[in-house]
Point group: C2
Chain length 350, copies 2
């Protein structure tokens, strides 16, 4: 074990503060990573504030980790010292259940180990995330970052990226499809970039007309203001796929009305109760609403490779770890375009 520096919340009400944590020594199957950058996900805020009622304090958040390999165990051949790598939301799973065998470790039937606030099967207690100097992770949960990408801007690909890429890929979005991305935040901005890169006619669907020019810069072919009933009518029944990134409960009926017959809307943001859905919204046109949760390790690597090929990264704002509490306040007000990334040098040099 090694003591390292981190930032943590000691309770639901507490600001994040410096804290020393223990990391395990590098085992034969492990990769030890020097953390360079860590993205700030909305989940970090939810966990710090115990919104999902499962937080264990102290919470060291962070699951959008980019770093350089410091050391590898004796069984590790795919990575070597100095490689640019990433770690996302998962650091372990059972590797034997049906979900793991289907490369969907996020749905591990025996419980995947999440990067923070998960059960630490090695040291006991719970896992600590990327707001820290370094991390030790099983080699099967380490991702390779294409060298042509800006490493800082690649950090949020590990959560925001895979969360939006996975449903677009899983439901087979392809060139020429009309795809709507609902909500323009950390997830939505990646949804637009991916749908555009996949060749879809990409429509940003938002309540805010002032997001139009940004949406177009990100790759949207059109912007649909959902408060405009006439425009919503014009687009009724015309979408092949909808990616719904709204992070809170909302009325899905007007969006379901935009779907073509047999088309699907996937929810990735709202992990909370949604407003009453009218049965007729799905019955008329045999429509579907589905959920999606990040992606498995294989698909996450596929997404990163896709980003390398299509030169896709996130739009980010760099911060020092000392500014994290202020960043959370701004995040809660959606005052970020579109993801904060912590420069971990600020932690190491403090």
């Amino acid at each position: 074990m090694t003591a390292i520096k981190a930032y943590a919340a000691a309770s639901k009400e507490a600001d994040l503060k410096p804290l020393n944590i223990e990391r395990r020594s590098t085992r034969s199957d492990d990769v030890k990573i020097d953390i360079l950058y860590c993205g700030v996900c909305h989940s970090d805020l939810h966990q710090v504030r115990n919104d999902w009622k499962n937080s264990i304090y102290p919470v060291v958040p962070g699951h959008e980790i980019i770093g350089k390999v410091l050391e590898v165990g004796s069984n590790v051949s795919d990575f070597k010292e100095g490689d640019l790598v990433g770690v996302g939301c998962l650091v372990d799973s059972c590797k034997t259940c049906g979900a793991c065998k289907d490369d969907l470790e996020q749905f591990c039937e025996n419980g995947a180990t999440f990067t923070y606030n998960g059960e630490d099967k090695h040291l006991g207690g719970h896992t600590f995330g990327g707001y820290s100097e370094s991390i030790v992770v099983d080699k099967d949960f380490v991702l390779r970052i294409p060298e042509n990408l800006d490493a800082k801007a690649a950090a949020p690909l590990l959560c925001a990226g895979i969360t939006t890429y996975s449903p677009l890929a899983h439901w087979g979005v392809k060139e020429g499809d009309k795809v709507g991305v609902i909500g323009l935040g950390g997830l939505g901005h990646m949804g637009i970039k991916f749908a555009h890169a996949m060749g879809a006619h990409t429509v940003m669907i938002t309540t805010s007309p002032d997001k139009s020019s940004d949406a177009k810069k990100l790759g949207a072919d059109e912007v649909l203001i959902s408060k405009n009933e006439d425009d919503m009518k014009k687009h009724a029944g015309s979408f092949d796929f909808l990616l719904n990134t709204i992070p809170v409960g909302h009325d899905m009926n007007p969006y379901a009305n935009l779907l073509k017959r047999d088309a699907t809307m996937v929810i990735v943001g709202a992990v909370e109760p949604l407003d009453p859905l009218h049965g007729g919204s799905l019955i008329m046109g045999r429509k579907r609403i589905a959920g999606s949760l990040i992606g498995g390790i294989k698909e996450t690597q596929e997404m990163l490779d896709f980003c390398g090929e299509h030169d896709v990264v996130c739009d980010i704002e760099m911060i020092n770890i000392q500014d994290i509490n202020e960043a959370y306040d701004r995040l809660q007000k959606s005052d970020v375009k579109y993801r904060f990334v912590i420069d971990m040098k600020s932690l190491k040099e403090s």
Copy 2:
């Protein structure tokens, strides 16, 4: 035009009473049918009482029609006088749009003509349903009834049958799948019969323990009482498919929890607002909720042929047309096993 006898509701509050209506003369593409039996669907009650706010009075309900061909037009070669035929919820569509070309006339983009309370494109006004002596229907909307089936008990196949067969077929339910049918009424009892006939391990899911023995007689392998939390936990994450026939708004979250990863629940009953769905119910396990509406003509014939092969009909209670108002009262109390069918002799001889 010919005047014929029918039963109709004159307004939302009025009982059904005898009424003379006009039917068109048989055109070259038409089949004129002597109605022998007509099933009583819950939609009949909804339309008579204007629950869906689109009723036009007088309402002559009835879209589960079985009869004998009386006369065919000059272009009709598939049917001849004396054939046993059926008419379901649809009597016409544009035949040219994408949905019609995909054999999904129920979703006709130019508006399918429903058997009653639809726009009558020939006589003007609105269409009149099967609570009547005879009907004249475009040949493309006439179904062939397998001669080995009990004609009376086949009537509800035209709506309750296709409504439950279509989603099971569309989502590929197959031998060995674990399929749950939620709700045991007119739709649910057919859902059990079809899932069983398709070789699925069929589980009746109901709030009422007193429905268990009936469910097993209908073909259920197991009965799951949804109020029993321990049993619901035992079955969590185990269903390949759920057919949700509950006819009113309800909490779908406990049922979504029964689905396997990537599995689908299809709503066919609740054409009204459902209780708030928790986003996590779909996100965890990448689950799907979809809708389904009757079926197209091609699939309805496929369903009837399937019934002929597997000897599937509905469980019915025969009534005379003069008893229709009492039958509606009982239907509203779910006091029927499992579908009323009107013997139309009672109308003709009155």
